[in-house]
């Protein structure tokens, strides 16, 4: 084969090979033309959020107390890399443990790293399922996490106070019993009944 004829065949091979590669590509797109679209029509069909979906944090509502268990230990506030949590806590009247009185999260700042959830000693933090929040103002993303707990919190505190009071009463009764050995069994029973409630 001479150089010129080889050049000619190479030219033809290039042109025809190129043409073939183009047709192969067109075949692929054609095949996809008849496949089902993969898009989700968002507002019409909402996505199923994954089980671990991370979003703004929320407080867990515990079964037995019907309220959260934030004790305002401030650990999450300290660990938050985005400084988006603001908590105020106070010892409610008649109680020894602190309770959160204000719990604000600025979701606009949050980076959903989950460190606050990791460090929470009472496991009262979880991810919420918010995924489509939009607003014109940034302060719309500042969530007050305690709003939905206000009523339950009052009830819980009332109950806790009673419990504490009863405990206190039982304690005093026990102390009295220790002082007065005769009445001891009755007082011990009374305190046990209270604890079982």
């Amino acid at each position: 084969m001479t150089a010129t004829t080889r050049a000619k065949t190479n030219y033809l091979v290039t042109v025809l090979g190129g043409l073939f590669s183009l047709l192969a590509g067109m075949l692929i797109t054609l095949r996809n033309l008849f496949r089902r679209p993969v898009t989700e029509q968002y507002p019409k069909s909402k996505p199923a959020l994954s089980k671990n979906f991370r979003s703004a944090i929320a407080l867990v509502r515990f079964e037995e107390t019907q309220t959260h268990d934030c004790v305002a230990c401030m650990q999450c506030v300290q660990i938050c890399p985005s400084f988006c949590i603001a908590i105020e806590g106070d010892k409610p009247e008649g109680l020894k443990r602190k309770r959160a009185t204000e719990f604000h999260v600025d979701y606009a700042l949050c980076s959903v790293c989950g460190l606050c959830i990791d460090v929470c000693p009472t496991n009262t933090l979880k991810y919420s399922r918010v995924y489509d929040q939009v607003a014109y103002r940034r302060d719309a993303f500042v969530y007050d996490l305690l709003t939905e707990f206000r009523d339950a919190e009052v009830a819980y505190l009332e109950k806790a106070r009673q419990e504490a009071a009863a405990k206190e009463a039982a304690k005093q009764a026990a102390a009295a019993a220790r002082a007065n050995k005769d009445t001891a069994p009755a007082a011990a029973n009374a305190s046990k009944e209270l604890e079982n409630d």
Binding site: V15, L22, M26, T29, L30, N32, P37, V38, T39
Partner: protein, 324 residues
Amino acid sequence: MFNQLFGNIWLVTLASGAVIMGFLTVNALFLVWLERKLSARFQRRLGPTEVGFAGTLQTLADAVKLLGKQLITPRNADKPLYHLAPVIVFMPVVVGVSLFPIDRQLMFVDLNVGLVLVFAFAGIGFIGIFMAGWGSNNKYALLGAMRAVAQNIAYEIPLILSALSVTLLARSMKLSAIVEAQSTLPYLLFQPLGAAIYLIGAVAETNRAPFDIPEAESELVAGFHSEYSGMRFAVFFLAEYSNMAIVSMVATTLFLGGYHGPWLPGYVWFFIKVYGLISLMMWFRWTFPRLRFDQLMSFAWTVLVPLSLANLMGTAVVLKVFRR
């Protein structure tokens, strides 16, 4: 012939001009919708679905939106050129459409040299593109314009050469005569190479992917129409889609037998063929990457021009030998 046309019925001519404008507008609206739908399906999406049935009115809504947009003129633009450019781009398209035999009796102007005139008017559009690029006083626009002109000069040659081999077969440059000559078999069967060259050249002439380098959005932002907004931009868009229709009409007339076809009326066949070709061009666009400028030029000069010349000469020789 032209005297009679203008002498007797020049009002009719104006009226048919209006008809053509109307057709082009509807055509562009339809084609934009078609392109969106087709591209979506090629990419396994749905495309527009909201406005009108299956999103058919989406482009109309977009056009209305464009009407309300601010018209921006760059401060240091060459104003006469900048403002004239959309008009110059669009004007030849209107004339171009009038030359095609849509059905046996349906044709606005039937000239003996219709084919030459089609290509002649196609050439004017590039001046408009150039004016747009130069007038915008924007480097991206200017680069786009330079590319457009160089590209169109390069691709016009194989385009015309492949069309010439058809005129050799039909022995006429009258578009109606060319169509009539294909009443039994379309010239596609006699001129497969010519048809292929024409198709490639046509895609390049309309600046469509993979030859869309004058407006390559990943390189030149939007090329020559970077600085146009609102309705001025819409006119460029209209011209682009109308140009697609025109080159498809030429291809239909030259290679696919125009309005000829069984059972259905002629104009239906004509439009089936035209829109089929346009869909093919859209298929190209949504499959291929873009060529580089120098590759584009060397492809024209080293592949298409020699091939089309060989095709033309081969056609002439064969005709000389086999047809007395």
